[in-house]
């Protein structure tokens, strides 16, 4: 096993070669904000919150998809990164219709947590108030596109862990939205096994269990990591 030594925010750490910066940082106890990343599914580097500065490179690189190399010196909290992260969160809030006070995930929302983490208390960009729909055709779950941040965790978890591939992304750019099946109502998608993994994967209140009200959603994201690593770790219960 090859080992790389590196420095993250002044902390020296040795990790297995091939580890992502994000995993190395977690090991070193350095928190890096993230939204699209989910343990157990392929990283995509889409939310850009985990960008870090690496000495000797002129580009900021996403920690979730960049592998460590020997002697790397990483800074995760430069003033510029902090400012960019705040702007990113502002852009996300301005893009959808995020009303915490009436959201099922209020208090248990990763978007909310990240906003607090990066110190975003208001958006400097105008809210766009898009016209988005809610799909409650599934007997157990619902999806409220107003709260969707297009992290594609549901898409990946359904495809990679459950193997059903109910979800995908439709359209382009600002018109992007999460589609179920062949852009059908969720309830009509035969492939859906009603396993609920997308509910657990969703960082916000966009996908939820029907019948839950404000602040009642508790996403069990660790379950997904447990499921995907159970076989290699020989841990069958938790």
């Amino acid at each position: 096993m090859a080992v790389n030594t590196l420095t993250i925010d002044g902390k020296d750490i040795a990790v297995e070669a091939g580890t992502s910066i994000l995993d190395a940082a977690t090991e070193a106890g350095v928190p890096i904000p993230k939204l699209c990343h989910l343990e157990g599914v392929t990283p995509v580097g889409a939310c850009r919150l985990c960008l870090v500065d690496i000495e000797g490179t002129n580009k900021m690189l996403p920690a979730c998809v960049t592998e460590v190399w020997e002697g790397m010196v990483i800074h995760t909290q430069t003033p510029k990164l902090q400012e960019y992260r705040r702007m990113t969160v502002e852009l996300i809030f301005a893009e959808g219709n995020h009303v915490c006070s009436i959201c099922v995930a209020n208090g248990n929302c990763e978007l909310q947590d990240v906003a607090i983490e990066v110190g975003m208390d208001h958006s400097r960009f105008p809210y766009r108030f898009p016209d988005r729909g809610v799909d409650l055709s599934h007997p157990m779950f619902g999806i409220d596109h107003n709260r969707c941040i297009l992290c594609t965790r549901c898409v990946r978890v359904c495809d990679e862990v459950e193997g059903a591939h109910v979800w995908d992304v439709g359209n382009r750019g600002e018109a992007c939205y999460i589609v179920s099946g062949l852009d059908q109502p969720w309830g009509e998608v035969d492939a859906c096994t009603s396993c609920g993994k997308c509910v657990d994967a969703c960082p916000t209140g966009a996908i939820f269990k029907q019948g839950s009200t404000t602040g009642e959603k508790q996403a069990d994201t660790e379950k997904l990591e447990f499921l995907s690593t159970a076989r290699e770790k020989h841990q069958w219960t938790r």
């Binding site: 580097g45 850009r48 510029k80 960019y84 852009l91 893009e95 766009r128 941040i149 992304v169 750019g173």
Partner: protein, 546 residues
Amino acid sequence: MDLQELKAVAKAEQERQKPVRVHCCTSTGCRAADAVGIYGNLKQAVTDHHLEDRVEVVGVGCMGFCGRGPLVQVDPDELLYEEVTPDQAASIIEAMDGGTAQPIQGDVNHPFFARQMRVVREYSGKIDPERIEEYIAVGGYESLHKAIYEMTPAEVVDQISKSGLRGRGGGGYPTGLKWATVAKMPEGQKYIICNGDEGDPGAFMDRSILESDPHLVLEGMAIAGYAVGANHGYIYVRAEYPLAIERLQKGIQQAKKYGLLGSQIFDSAFDFKIDIRIGAGAFVCGEETALIQSIEGGRGNPVPRPPYPAQKGLYDCPTLINNVETLATITAIIRNGADWYSSIGTENSKGTKIFALTGKIRNNGLVEVPMGITLREIVEEMGGGVPDGEVKAVQTGGPSGGCIPKSMLDTPVDYDSLRAAGSMMGSGGMVVMDDTTSMVGIAQFYMEFCREETCGKCVPCRTGTVQLYTMLTKILKRQATKDDLAKMEALCEMVRDTSLCGLGQTAPNPVLSTLKYFREEYEELLIEPEYLSDLNGKEAPQEVTV
């Protein structure tokens, strides 16, 4: 097929060709003005005047002077006729029989033509793109034979490296280095991809190459396949180029029939097949990782690099992906050698580059010029300048590039100088603007383009471009203050630094470059914060229309 047979095909074709060839452009631009009708009438007139023995009418590709199309050129006399109509067509043939030609006669010695240096476009507009024999008659597929029989793959890569050729898609990455990386990957399945997803507003160089000389690209791809050890190539062409697709299909079929593509090319152990993949209308699919996703049948979303396609590309195999113009340059380099190619151009930018000269300019069309020529020479001498008024700026590099002001027209056209000027080479779009153009409006136009074309995967590009567009619109509506401008600049930098792929990283360029050189235009549109309270905007002067 061996070299003897290839030469025999060339000889037979040369003998078949009539002494007088009437070249009628049948490419997309001229086709829009009924070039097909003109072609038919020319043919009819040849029959009517019983000139079949010495005159033939040839439907050819683009001659370049698209602004004056449809074009007809009679060779070898080099009589160029511009803006020909179907009614006038017959008179061109009558002129050979004692009559007078009605259409406007063009000047082939005009700087627009004379200042060009044609390497890639050497036979564009001179051969029938739908007949492989015409391509073979001008030396076609000899470079492929030379590569296979006289050079090792490593020597081919070496020649490309030495030539100094850089990617013509815009980035300017050294082509030889890219080839060497793919060649060095372990043996096994490898792919060549030709990126024909040209999408910059105002750019049509690649379409013209594919329509005018498709075999040049096919041969280039086969040489690339031989050099890097790939046996399968894909050409990714956008669906908006139906004629290019049709001609490529014909080209591939004809080349296969002659044994110039497919199995055991020139009876050697080298196999190479080419398939066409048609884009579904997304600009972002010109980004290499998104293009690969699209070929695989997925959603055209870029993925983070590394791993680069050269290591892990199409179907996770090492993949060489080059632009149309880059691949079209290969045969010339193999034929004439790297030293010849590197003698053209500047220190760090070798060879020639095709530009699509459009906008407020007298002579619209395609020009192929040696690197290092100044913008002024292209715009003022070749392009003939602005019809009424003055040049204000030249936009290069499409939505990823920037505007270069009049004061910097003496900037030499090469990768590094254009980048230093805050723009970029890009794929070759060159839009000339005159003094009536609002630079803020231009920035807004390009931002609208990026806003519509962003794939939506990463946050800064998906929502940042929308916010930037909103801010530019606000400035144009005279509702923005100094603070808004500062906020916009900050957002530009953020989108540039944090976006996932080249589309987002370069999307703010048109704004940043116009801010750099035309800041006063932005500032003139700003209002004092106290006017903001007046929601009817009575105090604020009128909205600027673009």
